[in-house]
């Protein structure tokens, strides 16, 4: 009993010390000019992925998603619908299944849907928003909802962007400019630097 208690106490002390050190490092990274610069540079990498068609096509400000590298309006009269999943009779799941259907060219992943309007990265005319504006949006959303790093690590639709499958003609869909590992690493650097945002667009 005593030895169990002693072991638990030791583990607790080590964990506390590790967490304090980590918090201090994160604090240092966030406040030092070097950390700030690294954070801003990391953000630009994150931004390059968020604004790639594989990501931004479903982060629209309109009532429809987009398709393709030219980001054209989704064909077939597809609309956003109240929950971002289309409307009855014409849901996202009407075509998009739980994984890519390479034989028919329809991309798929679990719970295919549009990002909410609060996470729009385009304006109403489908123009991509500036880096600073998206940065503030992601930062504020992450502070409210938490977990941008976890989102980038685990969300099935984020993971899909890095394995987007084949088009109907059999060619591979284009990939974001970073690998998923690089994207997560850049996000981690940005978060640990305190999520700094560029002051200018």
């Amino acid at each position: 009993m005593t030895s169990t208690l002693r072991r638990t106490s030791v583990i607790f002390l080590i964990a506390t010390a590790w967490l304090s050190t980590r918090a201090a490092v994160a604090q240092d990274t966030a406040t030092t000019p070097g950390g700030q610069q690294a954070g801003l540079a990391a953000w630009q990498q994150v931004y390059s992925v968020l604004t790639h068609p594989r990501c931004i096509n479903c982060h629209t400000a309109t009532n429809y998603p987009e398709q393709g590298d030219d980001r054209h309006r989704h064909l077939f009269n597809v609309v956003r619908g109240p929950g971002g999943k289309g409307v009855p009779g014409l849901n996202c799941a009407t075509c998009h299944q739980g994984e890519n259907a390479d034989s028919t060219g329809v991309p798929g992943a679990h719970n295919w849907h549009l990002a909410p309007l609060s996470m729009k990265w385009q304006d109403i005319r489908d123009k991509i928003l500036p880096s600073a504006e998206i940065c503030r949006s992601v930062s504020e959303h992450s502070k409210e909802a938490g977990g941008v790093l976890r989102h980038h690590q685990q969300e099935p639709l984020v993971l899909w962007a890095f394995q987007p499958g084949r088009r109907r003609d059999g060619t591979e869909r284009s990939l974001p400019p970073l690998t998923h590992e690089q994207f997560v690493a850049a996000t981690r650097t940005w978060v640990e630097a305190g999520m700094p945002c560029p002051s200018n667009p």
Binding site: G89, L90, Q97, T104, V106, R168
Partner: protein, 154 residues
């Protein structure tokens, strides 16, 4: 080739097909259920619409390998459902059909709409049925029939 066990209109079926075969062709060619139509083959027209676990689904773009254990309902079975029966009756009473080719898909989409929104507005109908094309232009009668079915179901 691979063997798949399916539930179609409440009945168990077994097919031996290539995993990439679209559900549409399994229904039409393997199970000889030709009520579901081939229109465009790229999910653009809605003629091939069936229900997969209750969701209106374009069977022309769903490989059989992705169907899993989800129950399938086709135009041949939708009349067993209360909403499906009401829609089919309304289609007859409003004399919706002209050539008829797209109508099985139209009915499957309409039933999905009414199951989610029992009293749809014109805007609801326009959004939900917007992916089902009719080259005969029966859209006005389709809208009227959906309203008729909605009233009957109320």
């Amino acid at each position: 080739m691979q063997t798949y066990k399916l539930t179609v209109n409440g009945q168990s079926k077994e097919v031996n097909v290539d995993p990439s075969t679209p559900l549409l062709w399994v229904l039409r060619e393997e199970l000889k259920m030709t009520g579901t139509k081939y229109g465009c083959g790229i999910s653009a027209c809605g003629a091939c619409t069936v229900h997969l676990a209750g969701i209106a689904t374009r069977s022309c773009v769903v490989p059989i390998s992705l169907v899993g254990g989800r129950p399938i309902v086709t135009i041949e079975g939708i009349g067993e459902d209360r909403a499906g029966r009401a829609v089919q009756d309304a289609w007859v009473s409003e004399d919706v059909v002209q050539c008829g080719y797209c109508q099985s898909g139209q009915i499957m989409a309409a039933v999905a709409l009414l199951k989610s929104i029992p009293k749809p507005t014109d805007a609801n109908i326009e959004a939900s049925m917007g992916g089902n094309l009719c080259r005969c232009g029966t859209y006005v009668r389709i809208r009227k029939a959906i309203m008729t079915a909605s009233q009957k179901l109320a």
